[in-house]
């Protein structure tokens, strides 16, 4: 188990991306919904091995479940069809609507959970570094990783500002108007102070030759291993096999 875990987590970011891509594209290629519903289960399995079960389940439930339920409700009641399964006053659930929602939600769940899995097993810093190796400008990868680093810092800052405003007498609880009014005094200082910090950041980056047109070195080491090639070849074989099976047989 431990071995499998390090195996998955130590894969090269692009290999992980290929796995995700495979899990995203094959449900769209294959007909029916059985396989598509298997993909989230497969993702859960991989997440379990990687030791990220809780986060994976949390995000899938929070992000995907509500939309899946809504699709079922909307489509079951309002999709045009004649095969009525159940009626209540003027509303009726139709077979066509259920079929349609099963199809649609299977694809959404498959693609969605593959994306969730990718971000759970890949560190953004690794991803950024592998993109750099692929030739993406360090400026672009800086934007990505720096955005992720700023968010927790800014969250803390926001809480501090809200506490300060509360002491001053700004109300944050009550009816909608009061809560909406609290939005502004909390957000303005946060935004203004974070924007004014760009000055120092620019100087810091400039002093480290951020914009110099030379080849950059990095302390962050990433290496492709044998398991990467194995996984890639396996994925390719599987994919070609599925393509042939789908379109030529």
């Amino acid at each position: 188990m431990e071995k499998l875990r390090t195996f998955i987590l130590n894969l090269y970011p692009t290999t992980k991306f290929f796995i995700t891509l495979f899990l995203m594209i094959t449900p769209l290629l294959l007909p029916g919904y059985l396989y598509s519903y298997l993909v989230p289960v497969l993702c859960l399995f991989i997440a379990m091995i990687a030791g990220k079960t809780k986060l994976f389940v949390d995000i899938v439930f929070k992000g995907l479940l509500s939309i899946v339920i809504m699709i079922f409700l909307l489509q079951a009641f309002f999709y045009p069809g004649d095969t009525i399964l159940w009626t209540w006053k003027i509303f009726s659930i139709k077979q066509e609507g259920i079929d349609f929602s099963v199809q649609l939600t299977s694809k959404i769940l498959a693609v969605g959970s593959a994306i969730v899995l990718f971000f759970q097993i890949t560190k953004i810093n690794d991803l950024a570094r592998s993109l750099e190796i692929l030739g993406v400008s360090p400026k672009a990868t800086y934007v990505l990783s720096s955005a992720l680093n700023i968010i927790p810092e800014m969250r803390m800052h926001l809480l501090r500002i809200m506490d300060a405003q509360k002491t001053r007498g700004v109300e944050t609880e009550g009816n909608l108007r009061i809560r909406l009014k609290a939005f502004f005094p909390a957000l303005t200082p946060l935004i203004l102070s974070s924007f004014s910090s760009t000055d120092e950041k620019a100087i810091t980056l400039e002093s480290r030759a951020f914009t110099a047109r030379t080849k950059k070195t990095s302390l962050h080491q990433l290496e492709k291993t044998k398991s990467d090639s194995v996984v890639r070849v396996l994925l390719l074989i599987l994919f070609v096999f599925i393509l042939i099976w789908r379109f030529f047989l």
Partner: protein
């Protein structure tokens, strides 16, 4: 192409992560205060106003990517966020974000573009659902016998226009509060300096 590259100065690039973080944190604040709106493109709009449409578009795109880590359905709405950035930026370049009444018009245009892009995405990709409370509105319109497209457009008109117009007003107020010295360093900051001296 050259014009686009010219917009991406070091200063402008540094604005992108901050704009993204503002989008995320403002979105969370809205949830914390239990306000039934999104308001998660304020950062995009501020960046688009001071640093131009293309920097704004990237801010919108990266924000949706980050939102996507925690809620993958958000990734489908990346074009909406990018378009908001582009539209605000282009109009800001024409001086359309310097007075309150102009900001209101810009808000309407941004909302319109958002509705035009978000509606097909919602209908085709998500079968009309959005997974938020606003789906109740879609259901009501559907129950009155209208088609799914009409229902989703009605819902988007309500939600997006309130959301986008309110966002751009917040963005405008904040840009107005920035110091002249700071604005002067930005690509398109001069619009907001001249006005202050006139008033």
């Amino acid at each position: 192409m050259k014009g686009i590259k010219k917009d991406f100065t070091l200063f402008a690039i540094l604005l992108i992560p901050i704009g993204v973080a503002i989008n995320v944190v403002a979105g969370e604040l809205v949830e914390l205060l239990k306000v039934p709106l999104f308001l998660n493109q304020i950062g995009t709009m501020i960046v688009a106003m001071v640093a131009g449409p293309w920097v704004g578009a990237i801010t919108g795109g990266v924000s949706k990517l980050i939102f996507g880590i925690f809620n993958p359905t958000q990734l489908a709405f990346m074009p909406v966020a990018m378009a908001s950035g582009i539209v605000v930026g282009l109009l800001a370049k024409k001086g359309m974000t310097t007075k309150i009444w102009k900001v209101a018009i810009t808000g309407f245009i941004v909302a319109l573009v958002a509705i035009l892009i978000a509606t097909p995405t919602t209908v085709i990709v998500f079968g009309g659902a959005s997974g938020t409370g606003s789906d109740a509105l879609t259901a009501i319109v559907l129950a009155s016998g209208k088609e799914i497209w009409t229902a989703v457009i009605t819902q988007k008109i309500f939600i997006e226009s309130i959301d986008k117009i309110l966002s751009i007003f917040v963005a405008y107020m904040i840009v107005r509060k920035m110091s002249d010295q700071y604005l002067a360093k930005q690509n398109y900051g001069h619009f907001y300096i001249n006005k202050k001296k006139a008033s």
